[in-house]
Symmetry: C2
Subunit: 295 residues, 2 copies
């Protein structure tokens, strides 16, 4: 069995930065809260809980002097204001690329454009972006984009993990009905590289495994992209989800992982598969064809 | 035989305005030149010649006091400057919608965007737009758009008669590789309405006739659109081009005409067909199903 792991699999720069900031804060021994899940990965969250991180859904019980981590997805200015009013100490781990989307969206609004956010209205990143604007439009499907009326002006930003093909179709639709269209392509390059690589790898292997939280937006998109080119694609959270029957008559397995999937979870899967197929090509040819020893 | 004439067939507002300005100037009895063809319609040009208009390809022999008409396609500022230096009197019949493209393209350049013109680089309108810019990019095919490298910023305007589908595809391609994309959809509404109507009419009739100059960009595009939905589409300049064999086993004929096709040329074709099929449904049901008596 040949196992190929995508070079781009796992933590992106922004997530790695947020997790490191969280762990640094915990090491300082402070009473540390995280508003929402730091990243959309259940297993990493469990690890952080063991290290002392407290996860909260709302700000009700926060007290003066508590430390609050803002996760990589970012929040609206209203949340920051409320945290400051409560006298908490804020560790802002918002991904700088997401901060850049906030700034671009506000710039568009200042320039007089109604602003459309392309992305999932229920995702914390989109909620955070929308929170920086007066009256944003949000669209997550082509039907919603088509329903937008003809407009003289429109500014567009997008969720950093948006599917590139949806983005292209949405902009094409908008171009035909907006007289002046200003678009910031704010898809993170980590996202587009990961998506391109997933598509390519999925087309070359017999079975494709996509590792990451079921609640992770970018992992789910990787899975959808992979599935569209290779029906034998499976979204797993850990090695426990793997079923041996998936690999019947397969000679190669491709692996990728979302931007919120820690390296140690990917390692577990690769090690598990290498034990499973230890008599096969794996041991002879090396585990990772494409990682170049990164794993 | 049922004959349906598209409501939008024939002169657009800008062309009608240019022809009226030319005729008004001729009526004043001045020595009147037109730089290039006033409109891309051989038969209208012949009529204007008979009225006394002189058509020239260059400014060499112009003298102080001559009157020069700038056609609806517009020209570059360099031409206007040269005409002024020669002491000629300028009648600027540039379509106000084309002037608007000049202004938008210059605005983009002033704002720091490299400017891409989507359109035919050999068409006088595109040459005129390009003449207002320092170093414009021009693309007329999807291959040319795809060859544009990744860019931080790009501003886009387009030829007023551009095919809407090409425009959408081009913008979709650009959106994926330009970080900040500002697009002015400068396709004239007369053009997009005409194209939509041609597509719709062509799908409903057995044979489709598109009337207009073979050198008319917008007529040729109407023909291409019509041909893509109805293989029995024919581009004609006048009734003399019509072949009876085209209508074998046909029960309906659709007619549209480019923005540079005079009403009298359309009338000639409709009258010729109504004579040809005088025993048919035509006389009973009225010549024009969709013109609402406009013809």
């Amino acid at each position: 069995m040949e196992i190929k792991v995508a070079k781009s699999a796992g933590f992106c720069w922004g997530v790695k930065r947020a997790v490191n900031m969280a762990i640094d804060t915990l090491r300082k021994g402070k009473n540390t809260y995280c508003l929402g899940e730091l990243i959309h990965n259940r297993r990493e969250i469990e690890r952080l809980k063991r290290l002392g991180m407290k996860f909260i859904d709302n700000m009700e019980n926060l007290k003066r002097g508590d430390t609050v981590i803002i996760r990589s997805h970012g929040v609206s200015p209203r949340i920051i204001k409320e945290l400051k009013n409560k006298g908490t100490s804020i560790v802002d781990a918002t991904c700088p690329f997401v901060k850049d989307v906030h700034e671009k969206a506000m710039k568009l609004e200042k320039e007089g454009y109604p602003v459309l956010i392309l992305g999932n209205p229920n995702h914390p990143e989109v909620i955070g972006i929308a929170g920086h604007l007066k009256s944003p439009l949000i669209a997550s499907t082509l039907e919603e984009v088509e329903a937008i009326p003809k407009m003289a002006k429109l500014g567009v930003v997008c969720q950093t993990t948006l599917n590139l093909n949806f983005f292209r179709e949405a902009i094409s639709t908008l171009a035909s009905k907006v007289k002046e269209l200003k678009v910031y392509n704010t898809i993170c390059s980590a996202t587009s590289i990961r998506q391109k690589e997933a598509r390519k790898l999925a087309s070359k292997v017999d079975v494709m495994l996509i590792i990451g939280g079921k609640n992770s937006s970018n992992t789910t998109k990787l899975y959808q992209i992979s599935k569209s080119v290779n029906p034998r694609s499976y979204h797993i959270e850990s090695k426990e989800d793997i079923k041996e029957e998936w690999f019947r008559e397969a000679e190669s397995i491709g692996i990728t992982a979302g931007a919120s999937t820690p390296k140690w979870v990917i390692d577990e899967v690769v090690n598990y598969l290498s034990t499973l197929y230890k008599g096969g090509e794996l041991s002879g040819r090396g585990v990772c064809q494409t990682t170049g020893g990164k794993l």
